[in-house]
Symmetry: C2
Subunit: 460 residues, 2 copies
């Protein structure tokens, strides 16, 4: 039995403890979007510090202008070993609408599913569950060998769900301390429960709140309807023109730099056998609703999008109120692909809105995120090492997939530290990430821990 | 001194008591749109019953499927006198947004204004203040003569602000009891503080809530953006097409039956000297926002409109949430002019929405109001009597105006009871009806009471 096998046996033997630590972390409602949870953010950070201090890390909670970061270092065994930076985030999305949860979002609960037990909670998978996998893999190595097989730094932030607004300056200010040979992140998914995956491309994100103000007060629609600007009508008229009938985004310059995928890429994705009808059926839909003339995986992994994530204004209570509101607001986001310049999308959206509202409409914008899309080089030796660890654990090679989501931190690590990132995640498509009843399969958690332990061993 | 003059002197002498009764009524938060205020509705009805029982009415609170009605009868002096039905409503609009009130909406407060004292409260003018005028005019007649100068019935409902949903069946069920020679309503405005007005035309109202459901749950915009139907995008895309660039409503058949105003009517309205620039400036706007090629008064009094009164869906909290919501909703209303068929507008809007949303969008509609526009014959003898009472009080003849608002009850009284209605109101354009800081000028209240006393005297 080699050392890695002993570590794996230890993971299996101590599984209950690892699961308990994961669930304890989930009890802390570290919702970064809601200022009322600031103290919970700090508690969640301190929880990670305690875990890593246990296994020999020099580690502390470090202040930023927003939620704190956790930074720590472990020297490893010494000698000529790689230096790996593990990144994760302890913050979670808001749990609302609360009434749709079958169990309270911050009381993690073990429930039965088709793949065995699963844990349901906000953050079950994104990202506390995935971070817990490598925390526990390191714990097992430390318990077995008194050290880690390679040099390790960790960086766990608390604002990933609000576009990592203070993360980039923090990394820039601590560039020397955070240098490493490669970054490893578990915040992505598998192809399916039996097929592991490495993510080789990510979409970027530009996220706006736009407020449109009209009259200086709410108005009676009888006395002003037909003469006074209605801000809701004005806002929906502008936002309603964001896409044409083919689903193409009408923001000027939006498609600049967007390239069609290569025939080789198209073939590789076609070979994955994505079942679009089932993907839609799972969410209660029958008809694809994206850009016409593009395959489902292309739309998700290689095409930019525009979604209105929230909208509000005027009377929203029961019954009727004949009011013309003074203002209306929306949250609007764009997923970007490699080649698009986020700054250009920001400027283009502002111009689009100004061009599509009437004279008296007063627009204001808040920008909550501005990150580019990214491609990961799959020939990198660390990506290859991760692929081998996955193959050893699952008995088959990982799929090299894209991701519709955004992890702007990957761009920051590349820009600020020159690091490539291995995106090795264990989520499933039905994990209900960002939705009520988010869950993570216990089987994924367990095999994820084992795979992380294998990767650490391989890097040593 | 004739009897009417004695009654007017009594009104002046007892003014403080009348004002106190008006303000007491305003303390009851009888918000018909909000079920939590059902008990307050009943209290507000009972308050009116107590006032009228005091002065010899046979009166009671009468149940409906919703908020109760107040119905009462006074035989008058006997003999060949007209029988007048006074209609009013004790319910008020929701007071939200509460933070914009300078005084609490249900703690009526006397404040100074350019025309002397005013009372600020929800319902100050609409309609408790205006009803209080005729309640107190009747009280003065009763105190002076021991009876009223003519036969009087009163009908005060509690759901006017939610489109009188149970009023029509109530009137139909009590047709014999409610018959009279004419109806009098004070729920409209003056031309300005020195110029009285009678309202000779009203817009109708069709009011919808439309809900659009897409996926069976909230989705992550990274994993589904670009493939899954976004209900907010779908809703704004449909609603954004409700009007064309000239402000014309695109609902099929919407303008059927709408007639241009006669040159005589246009001249009469032009002679009123409406100051559109000031009307807009008062609400913080500079540019008219209605149908192109129509005058301001024409747009308000003779053209139908479409306004979105409320909209909501998805994430509305601080910061960002990358979610695709499961549903989105809006409140949409249409002001109708005489000639339009409200049922046709209802069917047309439903068809418009169905035609403008994608295949997977599930629409549902709730109808909160469906009333036609109406013209009042100004040659009616009761309208002429009201004009004389106004002229006696103000020293000038009233303007014959239209109204942008809707009082569907006028249509009900005509259809069910065959009654014409005298619309004699004392509100001002800056009363902030339906807005925060609604107010009613004490001077308008006082002269309104006196005018109602004169009209009662003239009818006797």
């Amino acid at each position: 039995m080699n050392t890695t096998d002993k570590v794996l046996a230890r993971i299996d033997a101590n599984f209950a403890d690892a699961q308990a630590r994961w669930m304890d972390w989930l009890r802390i409602p570290s919702v970064s979007a809601q200022p009322a949870h600031a103290a919970d953010s700090r508690r969640a950070a301190e929880y990670a510090v305690a875990q890593l201090a246990d296994i020999g890390f020099q580690i502390s909670v470090r202040d930023t202008a927003g939620a704190p970061c956790v930074v720590g270092h472990h020297p490893g065994p010494g000698g000529d070993v790689p230096h790996v930076l593990y990144y994760g985030h302890y913050d979670v999305q808001p749990a609302e609408p609360l009434e749709l949860w079958t169990h309270p979002p911050f009381e993690p609960t073990l429930v039965d599913g088709p793949h065995g037990k699963r844990v349901t909670a906000r953050g079950a998978v994104d990202d506390k569950g995935q971070v817990s996998m490598w925390l526990n893999a390191m714990r097992a190595w430390h318990a077995e060998t008194g050290t880690l097989p390679c040099r390790v730094s960790v960086l766990i932030e608390g604002e990933e769900e609000i576009s990592s607004i203070n993360f980039k300056p923090f990394v820039a200010a601590n560039r020397d301390e955070l240098r490493a040979d490669v970054a490893v992140i578990s915040d992505t998914g598998m192809w399916d429960i039996d097929t592991p995956a490495l993510t080789a491309g990510l979409r970027g994100l530009v996220y706006f709140q736009v407020d449109l103000r009209a009259a200086n007060r709410d108005l009676h629609s009888g006395m002003y309807g037909g003469s006074a600007l209605n801000p809701i009508n004005a806002l929906v008229t502008a936002l309603g023109q964001l896409k044409d009938a083919d689903g193409r985004v009408q923001v000027p310059g939006f498609y600049d730099g967007v390239r069609d995928i290569s025939p080789a890429q198209a073939n590789q994705w076609a070979a994955l056998g994505f079942d679009e009808a089932r993907y839609l059926r799972d969410i209660g839909m029958t008809t694809p609703s994206g850009e016409t003339g593009r395959s489902a995986l292309e739309r998700l992994w290689a095409r930019p999008t525009c979604d209105i994530n929230g909208i509000w204004g005027g009377y929203q209570g029961p019954g009727s109120k004949t009011v013309i509101a003074a203002e209306a607001s929306a949250k609007v986001s764009f997923r970007l692909v490699p080649g698009q310049d986020p700054e250009k999308v920001v400027a283009g959206f502002k111009r689009f809105m100004q061009d599509h509202v009437p004279a008296d409409a007063k627009l204001s914008f808040q920008l909550f995120g501005c990150g580019a899309g990214l491609k990961i080089p799959t020939t990198d030796r660390f990506v290859q090492a991760a692929a081998k660890a996955l193959e050893a654990e699952y008995g088959k090679a990982p799929a090299m997939i894209g991701s519709g989501g955004s992890i702007p931190v990957v761009e920051t690590l590349l820009a600020e530290l020159g690091l490539n990132t291995v995106l090795m995640g264990f989520g499933l498509d039905d994990d209900l990430v960002h939705s009520p009843n988010e869950k993570f399969e216990v089987r994924c958690f367990h095999k994820g821990m084992r795979t992380h332990a294998r990767l650490l061993g391989a890097l040593g």
